[in-house]
Symmetry: D2
C-alpha cells in the first residue's frame, strides 16, 4: 500500500483496474484516485431517503469527503449522519435549493412521486443543470415520467437502482444499473463508484429499473426452482451437498444454487446457514416481483414462471415469511 | 505429447488430472492410462441401444480397444459399428450370454423393462457377477426395481444416465451420474471414463436418475425463466447483450443465460445462433420434465415451477417445436 | 299483450316481475312501465363512447324516448345515432354542459381519466347534482379516484361495468354491476334498466368494477379449465358430449361447460359452433385478467390460477387468437 | 306410498322415473322395482374393500336383500357387516370362488393390482362369465390392463368410480361413471342403482376412470379459482354473499361457488360453515389431481391449470390441511 501512496491518482486507478482488485480498501483507493483527479466536484451532495440502504450509502459518500445535505421524513434516520457532519434540510425542496447533485433512495413509486413532484418536492426548486440520481426500485414508466418532468425544469434525472443488499451498501460493494445518456453517465458514475463496485450504463433512462426488475424476476425464479429441485432430490435419496455439487457443475447451475444455496448445511455464510436471517427479505422480493408483473402486463410480455414465482412469494408473505431471507422458499416448500 | 509418451500410465493419469486438462486428446490419454493399468479388463462389452447417443458411446468404447457385442431392434443402427469391428447379437439375452459387462442406452422406462425383463431380455441369461450399466433416463423407481431383479440373479445393475447431448457423446465429454454401491462404482467408472469427462457416484442405485431429472427440471426452469426475462427486458428497451451481461454478472446468473443464451445474437456457437437446430430437443426436455413430475407426485414433493415448465414445454411440442432445441422457448414466448 | 295494454304502468311492472319474464319485448314493457311512472325524467342523457358496446346501449336509451347528447372521438360512430335523432356535442365537456345524467363507455383507465379529467373533460363543466354513470371496465382504484374528484364538484360518479357482450348490449340484456350509495342507485337503475336485464348495487363506488373483474377472473379460469378438461377427456377416449353431460350434472359444472362449451359439436348457438367468431374476444378477456392481476397485487391477494390464466390468454394473443372468442382456448390447447 | 304398493314393479319404476323423484325412499322403491323384476339375480355379491366408502356401499346392497361375501385386509371393517348378515371370506380369491358378481372399493392402483392379480387375488379363482365392478379411483391405464387380464379369464371387468363422498355413499346417492360394453352395463347397473342415484355408461372400459378424474380436475380448479376470487373480491370491498350471488347469476358460476361455497357464512350445510370438517378431504383431492396429471402426461395433454391446482393442494397437504375438506383452499389462501 505504501508503494501505492507514491503513485499519482491516475496510476492508482490503473493499478486498481489492472489487477481487478476489489474490496473496501481498493474501493477507497479507487474513489480517492477518482476524486483526486476531479477536485472540483467536492460540492455538497443532496441525499433524500436514509433507511436501511440509504443510510449506508450516504455514509460512504461522507467518507469520500463529499459534504452532504440530507433529508428524511423519519428524524431518527438523520441523527447518526448529522454526527458525522451532514447538514439537515427541512424538505426535499430545501435539499434541491442547496445542492446540484442529489441521490434519492426511497421504498416505492408513490414515495418517489412525492419526493420529486409534491409542492415541497425536489422539482419545485431544482436548479438548471442539476443531476438527480434515483436509486429507488420503481416502475420503469414512473422513472421515465419523472425524468420527463425533470427535463422540463432543465435538470437531468437518471434511474440507478441497486443490487447487493444491506451488506453491500455498508461495504460500498453495490451494483448500480444506471439509465440515462452516456454523456451524463460519467458524472453519475463519479458518485456511484464511491458507493458501489459495478456501475453500468444500461441504456436510456428507465432501463436501469428494467434491468433491476428483470434480474430480480430471474432471481425469484431460480431461488424457488432451486428450492423445489433440492427438496425433490433429497426426497429421492440424494444427499444435499452431492446434489448441489452436481447442479453447480452441470447445466442446472445458477447463482441461487452455487452462491446462495437455500438448503441448510450446503454452504456457509449464507442465510440458510443462519435460520434465514438477514439477506434480502421475502417481502422485498415479492415487491420486486410485483413490479416485474406490472411491467410485463404493460408491455404485454408473457411471463408465466415469473408470475407464478410472484404468487408463491406472495403466499409466503401471508404465512409469516415476510422478514425471512427469500431463500426461505426452501423451508416453505419442504416444511411439513 | 512426446514427453508424455515416455511416462508410465500412472504418471500420465496424474498429469492429466493435475493440470485439469480436458478435451478429446487428453481424454484419450486418460483412458489409455486407465486401460494400460488394467489390461485384464479388455473382455468384450455388451451394448444394447445404438441410437443418437448409444451409437457414439459404443464407438468410443471401440476406440479404446474394447471388443463389443451389440444389439438394437433397428438393424440400420448396427451397420456402422459392425464395420468398425463390433459383433452383432440377435437379442439382449444373446448379448448377456456373451459378455459380463453390458451398457444399455434406451429411450424410456418401457424399453428398459423390455430389454431387461422380457423373455429375450438381459436378465433371462445374465451371468452371476455381471455388471449392468443403464444409461437410459428413466423413472428412479423403475431403475430400483430392475436393480432388485438383477440382484436376484446375482448381477449388479447401476443407473448411469448422462448429461451433455449428442455432441458430448461424440466427443466423449458426457457427464455420468451413477447410482450404485461405491465398491461397484470403480468397475463402472473404468468404462464410463472412456465415454465421458465427469463420472460421479451420486449415491445408491436410483440416485443417478434422481440427479439427472433434478438437474433437467432446474434446467427447464432456468431456460424458460431466462427466455421470459430476456423478452421482458427487450420490450422494456434493454439491448439484449447488455441485459445478458447484467444477468451474468449479477444474481440473475444461470447456465441458461451465460452458457446457452436463447436470444439470437447474444452468443455464438449455441443453437439460438443457428435457428435452434441441434442441441437438446424440446421433445426430450418435455419427456424429462414429465419424469420429474411423476417422481414429484410419487414423493409428494411440491414443484410448482417445475410443473409449469413441463406444461409450457408440452404446449410447445404441440406447436411444432418438438425437434427444435429447448432454448427455442424464447422464440415461442416472443413470437407474434 | 292486448290484455297488458289496458293495464296501468304499475301493474305491467308487477306482471313482468311476477312471471319472471325476460326478452326484448318484456324489457320494452318494463321500461315503458318504469318511464311511464317517471315522466319527469325524460331530460336529455349524455353518452360518451359509442363503440361496439356503447353504440347499442345508446340506441336502447333512444328507443325508450330519452333524448341523447352524444360524443365520441371517432366521428363514424356518431352517424347512425345522429340519424336516429341524437344531437352531437364537440367534447365531453360540451356533453356535461347540456345534460345532467351522463353514461360513459370507454375502453380503459387512461380513456376514462381523459374523458373525465382533461381540460375538455366532463368534470371541467359538470353541473352540481349531476349523475355520472361509467360503464367502462377499469381499475377499481381509478374509479374511486374519479368518484372523489366528481364529489369535489358536487356530482355523483358511479361505476357500472357490464357483463353480457355485444349481443346482450344490442338486446338490452346486459348485467350492470353498480357501485355507489343506495340512495343514488335508484336514479341510475332507471336508466340502466333500459339497457339491461340485471341491475345490481354491489356496494360502495368501486365495487362494481371489483365485481366485474372478479367475475371475469373466475370466467377465465373456468374457460381454460374446461378446455383442458375436455381435451384430456377426449384423449382418454371419452366422447365430447358424454363428458360435457357428466361435468354438467356433477361437481365439475360451470357456466363455461354448461352454457358456453368450448368444444365444437357439443352445443349449438355458441362461438365454438361457429369457428369461435363473435362473442367475447380473447383480447378483451386478457385485458380484464390484467386488471384483476393489478388489483390482486395492490391488495396483496394471492391469485395463482388467475395469474396463470392471464398468462395463457396473453400467450394466445400473441399467437393470433386476439380476435377469436375466448373459448378458443380449447382450440389453442388442443391444436397440433 | 300405499297406492304404489299395489302397482306392479314395472309401473313403480316408471312412476319413479316420470316424476324424477329422488331421495332414499324413492331409491328404495326403484331398487325394489328393479329387483322385483329380476328375482333371479339375488345370488350372493362379493365385496372387497370395506373402508369409509365401501362399508356404506356394502350395507346398501345388504339392505336390498343381496347376500354378501366380504373381505378386507382390516378385520375391524368387517364386524358391523358381519352382524348384518354378511359372510366373511379369507381372501379376494376366496370371494371370487363363492360369487360371480364382485364389487371392489380400494384406495389406489397398487391395491387394485394386488386384489386382482396377486396369488390370492380375484383373477386367480374367478369364474368364467363373472362380473367384476371396480369402484376404486385409479389410473385409466391400470383399469384397462386389469380388464384385459380379466378377459383372458373369461370374466368381465368394468371400472365404475364414484362421485359424491361419504354422505352420498351412506344415503345411496352416489354417481357411478361406468366404463364397459353397453351389453354388460345393464347387469352392472342393477347393482349400482342400489348404491347410487346416477349410473352412467361413459364409454368403453377405462372411460369411467377418465370421466372421474376429468370431473375432479375441473372441480379442483373451480374450488381454488372460487377461493381466489372470493378472497380478492372481499379485499376489494365486496360483501361475500353479494359477490357469491353475482358470480352465481353470471358467467362466473360454478358448482364450487353455488353449491359448495368455500367462504364461511355464505352458505349453510357445507363444510365452510363447519370449520371445513367432513366432506371430501384435501388429501383425497390431491390424490385425484395427481392421477389426472399422470393421465395428462401419458396422453401428452397440456393441463396448466390442472397441474397448478395439483401443486397448490399438495402444498396445502404439507401445511396441515390434508384432513380438512378441500374447500379449505379459501382458508389457506386468505390466512394471514
Amino acid at each position: 500500500m505504501a508503494a501505492i501512496r507514491g503513485m499519482n491518482a491516475g496510476k492508482v486507478l490503473q493499478t486498481a483496474i489492472a489487477f481487478r482488485q476489489t474490496g473496501p480498501r481498493w474501493n477507497l483507493l479507487r474513489c480517492f484516485a477518482v476524486s483526486a483527479q476531479q477536485k472540483a466536484s467536492m460540492t455538497p451532495i443532496g441525499f433524500v431517503g436514509l433507511g436501511n440502504m440509504g443510510g449506508h450509502m450516504a455514509k460512504n459518500l461522507l467518507k469520500q469527503g463529499y459534504p452532504l445535505v440530507i433529508h428524511d421524513v423519519y428524524p431518527e434516520a438523520i441523527t447518526e449522519l448529522q454526527d458525522l457532519g451532514a447538514s439537515v434540510a427541512d424538505s426535499a425542496a430545501d435539499v434541491a435549493e442547496k445542492t446540484d447533485r442529489i441521490v434519492t433512495m426511497l421504498p416505492s413509486s408513490p414515495n418517489v412521486i412525492e419526493a420529486y413532484n409534491s409542492a415541497t418536492g425536489i422539482l419545485s426548486t431544482v436548479r438548471k443543470g442539476a443531476l438527480l440520481i434515483d436509486s429507488s426500485t420503481i416502475d420503469p414508466s414512473v422513472a421515465k415520467e419523472v425524468a420527463a418532468q425533470a427535463e422540463k425544469k432543465g435538470a437531468v434525472y437518471m434511474d440507478a437502482p441497486v443490487s447487493g443488499g444491506v451488506n453491500a451498501a455498508r461495504d460500498a460493494l453495490l451494483t448500480f444499473m444506471v439509465g440515462g445518456k452516456p454523456e451524463e453517465f460519467g458524472a453519475a458514475k463519479e458518485l456511484l463508484q464511491c458507493m458501489g463496485k459495478n456501475v453500468v450504463n444500461t441504456g436510456p433512462v428507465g432501463t436501469g429499473q428494467a434491468a433491476k426488475i428483470c434480474n430480480n424476476m430471474m432471481l425469484g425464479i431460480t431461488m424457488i426452482g432451486t428450492s423445489e429441485t433440492m427438496n425433490l432430490g433429497i426426497r429421492l435419496g440424494l444427499e444435499p451437498k452431492m446434489l448441489a455439487q452436481i447442479l453447480n457443475t452441470s447445466s442446472g447451475r445458477s447463482w441461487s444454487s452455487d452462491t446462495y444455496n437455500p438448503v441448510p448445511g450446503v454452504m456457509e455464510g449464507v442465510p440458510s446457514a443462519n435460520q434465514y436471517k438477514g439477506g434480502f427479505s421475502t417481502g422485498l422480493m415479492t415487491k420486486d416481483l410485483g413490479l416485474a408483473q406490472n411491467a410485463a402486463t404493460n408491455t404485454k410480455s408473457p411471463t408465466p414462471l415469473g408470475s407464478l414465482a410472484h404468487q408463491i412469494y406472495r403466499i409466503m408473505c401471508s404465512k409469516g415469511y415476510s422478514l425471512k431471507d427469500f431463500s426461505s422458499a426452501f423451508q416453505y416448500l419442504k416444511e411439513e
